[in-house]
């Protein structure tokens, strides 16, 4: 699979237009308006075979076809819905001084959500948009705290966003700034933070 620089071409690049996936063809995706996770969610909830949906998404992401990470995942559905609710809002959307959300960072946050959905349930973060207009994920439970901000990518590159996070796990503080996120996998440090018990 080639390196993906734009999340909206992820699936279209990965599945030939003529490939049959049940009743689905990749041409069915409207790749101009909505990000891939949302298109797939809409497609999946329109009566398609969920096994086909999950396996095609996993194939598109270049990962082995293991558990149905997408199907019936209430957390992912709620998170994508929350992100969608911020689209099109203007500066002052919070009734105060917040900047308008930046569409590219919302796209990246949707991609990130797909990976977060694979984390243990007690580490999946809640999404909001900060006063700077950047999506932000956070979780505060016993022995685990995460506050992660999705920032616009800084330079033209293969990444779709830069991630900055502050975390506390088992009492140890971690701060990472401007880590590139390419949309195809979690940064190693973040994956380790979410999925392992050891720093």
């Amino acid at each position: 699979m080639s390196v993906v620089t734009n999340p909206t071409v992820l699936v279209a690049d990965s599945i030939p237009a003529t490939t049959k996936l049940g009743t689905f063809r990749s041409n069915d995706l409207n790749i101009t308006n909505m990000s891939i996770p949302f298109q797939l969610m809409n497609w999946a909830t329109s009566g398609q075979n969920t096994q086909v949906v999950s396996s095609s998404i996993l194939r598109a992401l270049g990962r082995p076809s293991t558990p149905q990470w997408y199907t019936a995942d209430a957390w992912l559905s709620e998170t994508l819905s929350a992100l969608r609710s911020f689209r099109g809002t203007q500066s002052g959307w919070d009734g105060e001084n917040s900047h308008a959300p930046i569409p590219e960072t919302l796209d990246a946050a949707e991609m990130l959500s797909a990976f977060f959905s694979e984390a243990p349930a007690d580490r999946r973060p809640s999404v909001n948009v900060g006063p700077d207009g950047f999506p932000s994920f956070a979780r505060n439970v016993a022995d685990f705290y995460l506050h992660l901000v999705v920032e616009p990518r800084r330079h033209p590159s293969n990444c779709i966003a830069n991630l900055t996070w502050y975390a506390i796990r088992n009492g140890e503080k971690v701060f990472e700034e401007g880590v590139p996120f390419d949309g195809t996998s979690l940064p190693k440090e973040l994956s380790s933070l979410l999925n392992s018990d050891d720093l």
């Binding site: 929350a82 609710s85 911020f86 099109g88 809002t89 203007q90 500066s91 002052g92 959307w93 919070d94 009734g95 105060e96 001084n97 973060p125 809640s126 999404v127 909001n128 948009v129 900060g130 006063p131 700077d132 932000s136 956070a138 979780r139 505060n140 439970v141 705290y145 506050h147 901000v149 900055t164 502050y166 506390i168 503080k173 701060f175 700034e177 401007g178």
Partner: protein, 199 residues
């Protein structure tokens, strides 16, 4: 004169510079707390007063805690709260303004509740000063107050250092504020019920 400097700083027209202006107006941390900051205000905020943060967006709350993305403004424009002395009418006006302004910018908003905490809880961390609580009353809202802080890093700090300082502070404030969220149907015998989602 410090008192006049503080009042002038409170009227600074650039919202994102207000915390620094107010901090600079007094010779010691949170020095402007000693003075009545606005002629609309009944007087400085006492340590024993309860403060009320209006929660009007579902993404503001995670597991009962305030989302840290909502707590990143203390060194810029500050975080608005109402003091416990505010009348029912003042709560209604404030919530109404939030809902209206937000809707005008494309985002629906409703009352999820009031998060209550004492001024003392956010003013002191052990023996150290924490946030400053200023009585920034305004016309029609005399019990309005702002949570602010002095500059978190030196002027020559990197953007990463500033982000880390803001994120660390957000976590500390999140814990200090706690989770005493009172729903709109319970708060003051339901005065904000008309702003609850079901209505």
């Amino acid at each position: 004169m410090t008192c006049e400097n503080c009042r002038a700083a409170n009227l600074h027209p650039v919202a994102e510079e207000r915390a620094r202006k107010i901090s600079d107006a007094a010779p010691r941390p949170c020095g402007c707390e000693l003075f009545r900051m606005s002629h609309h205000s009944p007087g400085p905020v006492l340590d024993t007063e309860d403060l009320c943060l209006l929660v009007s967006d579902p993404q503001m709350i995670m597991d009962g805690w305030i989302h840290p993305s909502k707590l990143m403004n203390f060194d810029t424009c500050g975080q608005s709260v109402l003091r416990e002395g505010a009348s029912d009418q003042e709560f209604l006006i404030t919530m109404g303004e939030l809902v209206t302004r937000s809707k005008e910018k494309g985002r629906d908003r409703w009352c999820l509740g009031i998060l209550r905490f004492s001024a003392e809880a956010v003013r002191y961390c052990a023996s150290d000063r924490f946030l400053c609580v200023y009585d920034t009353g305004m016309e029609g809202k005399p019990y309005h107050a702002d949570l602010m802080c002095a500059p978190l890093v030196p002027d020559n700090a990197t953007s990463g250092q500033l982000k880390r300082a803001r994120m660390e502070l957000a976590r500390e404030v999140l814990i200090a504020i706690g989770r005493d969220l009172v729903g709109p149907l319970e708060f003051r015998a339901g005065i904000l019920a008309s702003y609850a989602r079901s209505s």
